[in-house]
Subunit: 351 residues, 2 copies
């Protein structure tokens, strides 16, 4: 573990990495200490593959120390790096990774609470990364998989949101992601990178503890009861939202890293498939898997701030393009609960 500073020393460290063959790639993951980043790396380490390519080297970057995936057969460099600092992005891409997963982000609740930090991390970070990639060319044109979000959309909505619906976010987080998508498309069109933006559904069930995302409760009301703990529900039962499991999210990112982007045309960002469910349907799925006792642990505690943010979020998509390109998610919420139990609870449904 080292702290990345915008100096020349890193370039040397990178150029010392072992040469890659045509069939192996170097990867960079920003936000590697985040939940999705961690799970992505666990999966890549387990598979030893990215699509059909081997992985020779991985740079894992985050504001806090990213953990190294267990059992990886490739070289791993974990760095503490703030993308928004001058020079940092250049150092991160100095090794010319063929695939960049840009997952670093301040989450929605925090971006709403801290205006400047949200713009700095989510917008400036994205732009500096893309500019560093541009500056590293010509001849360097990495696949950039950008972790965008369905928060780029804002109410009012049609019943099912199609692939050509306008992105009119109602949060600063969604704004920053929508800007990131625009930059990604333009930098791709100009030939600086080969970008693909993945609009992640709300990831559910997130493992671990509640976080500062306004969407945190969507996971809590399943996760905590499965652990025998109380969870608070800040919104009405009829709130409808769009979900995919962490396992599906990792699948999206890996598919995005290796698919043929020719089929994307100039619209480089895609709404990912997911499960449309109301809070009531979430609760019924929990009941089906873990019984009434689990459901009784959900305590209703209305929170107007959360409710107002979530009210502007989408409930259902017609994610036709992503489906056609081979992206797959769960098909109902009970499946999402079972994936959580398999991946996080050792497959044991609590008694």
């Amino acid at each position: 573990m080292k702290t990345l500073r915008p100096s020349g020393t890193h370039r040397a460290a990178h150029s010392g990495s072992r040469p890659t063959t045509l069939d192996s790639v170097r990867i960079l993951v920003t936000g590697a200490a985040g939940m999705v980043g961690r799970k992505l790396l666990e999966r890549v380490a387990r598979d030893g593959l990215l699509g059909r390519a081997g992985v020779s080297h991985a740079v894992l970057a985050d504001l806090v120390e990213p953990s190294r995936p267990v059992g990886s057969s490739f070289e791993v460099e974990a760095v503490c790096a703030d993308l928004a600092e001058p020079g940092v992005a250049a150092a991160l891409v100095a090794g010319r990774p063929e695939v960049v997963f840009h997952l670093a982000a301040v989450l929605s609740g925090e971006a709403e609470a801290d205006f400047e930090r949200g713009y700095r991390v989510n917008l400036d970070g994205m732009r500096l990364l893309l500019d560093a990639i541009r500056a590293a060319g010509p001849g360097y044109r990495p696949r950039v998989v950008f972790g965008s979000s369905i928060a780029v959309f804002g109410a009012p909505f049609p019943d099912a949101i199609g692939d050509d619906y306008c992105t009119t976010p109602l949060t600063s987080y969604g704004t920053q992601k929508a800007v990131g998508e625009l930059l990604l498309s333009d930098y791709t069109r100009r030939g600086f990178c080969d970008g693909i933006g993945i609009r992640l559904p709300t990831i559910c069930v997130r493992p671990g503890k509640p976080n500062r995302a306004a969407s945190s409760f969507f996971s809590s009301i399943v996760r905590e009861p499965l652990n025998g703990q109380e969870a608070t529900l800040p919104v009405p039962d009829d709130v409808r939202h769009w979900f995919a499991s962490p396992r599906a999210a990792v699948g999206f990112l890996l598919h995005a890293a290796s698919l043929d982007t020719e089929a994307l045309g100039d619209r480089r960002s895609l709404t990912m498939p997911g499960v449309s469910a109301t809070v009531a349907e979430q609760i019924e799925a929990l009941r089906a898997v873990a019984g009434d006792e689990a459901v009784r642990l959900i305590r209703r505690e209305p929170d107007e701030t959360i409710a107002r943010i979530v009210a502007g979020w989408p409930g259902r998509f017609d994610a036709r393009r992503a489906h056609a390109l081979g992206f797959r998610a769960e098909t109902n919420f009970e499946e999402i609960v079972r994936v959580h139990i398999e991946d996080e609870l050792g497959g044991r449904v609590p008694a």
Copy 2:
């Protein structure tokens, strides 16, 4: 005329402007030396009004010296200012103008040719202006009328593009404008300003000379023949596009400055009404007004770069929201030709 530098001296200059009453406003116009900015100021000087409010003071800013409108009854301060320089935006809003017309922009052709300059002027300039407005608060929340463009849209298109169609630009200029719209909405939602983005149709007939906008020929093929000069047409006759006159554009901006923005909700950018016409229809309108002789001055000279850019542009909109909010344009292309003759050629149709 003075050159604006990011120093404290300007704040003093501004605070010396005469106090405004509730019924008069101070205005700031960026890009005031541009065609639309100039025409806007001529109109405001002629009316002495902005909507129903008087105008007490105007700061006109541009990279080159903005001309002072003739016969204005209000105080005019013309400044040479580069919005993308640190501190300049703060100096421009130090006088706390109630209405800001943000028209400064690198046009589409130039933004495509000079990647960095386009991002600097069109994106950084917008963000710095909004941040300066934010920093000047609390208690300061000006109306910001942002000159956006239909270039925020990119093919493929439906037959008529509705108000909720996605903004997937195919030029860097369109990207920068789309980012500007997103920022404007978010800064408005956060209470820093009261923004309204006006997606201008291609302005036709532009007076003066051809410029570096890829759309320049749309005006040339009417303007030059009316002056007895040859014009080159770089695209096929069946290219369809969306037009409004400079007079209509000024009308949009003035209406945007004074309408009740409550009706906008959270979607602060609007596609303006316009005239959908093919190049062939433009030519027939010219023929109807000025005869075959004028039409014979149009020389076809295909240009693949221009044709490729324009092919990604929209041809027809269903600008329902703007219509409902009272925005009005011409209703056919012949009317646009006649407006040009009235406003630029003293009403004389060439023999």
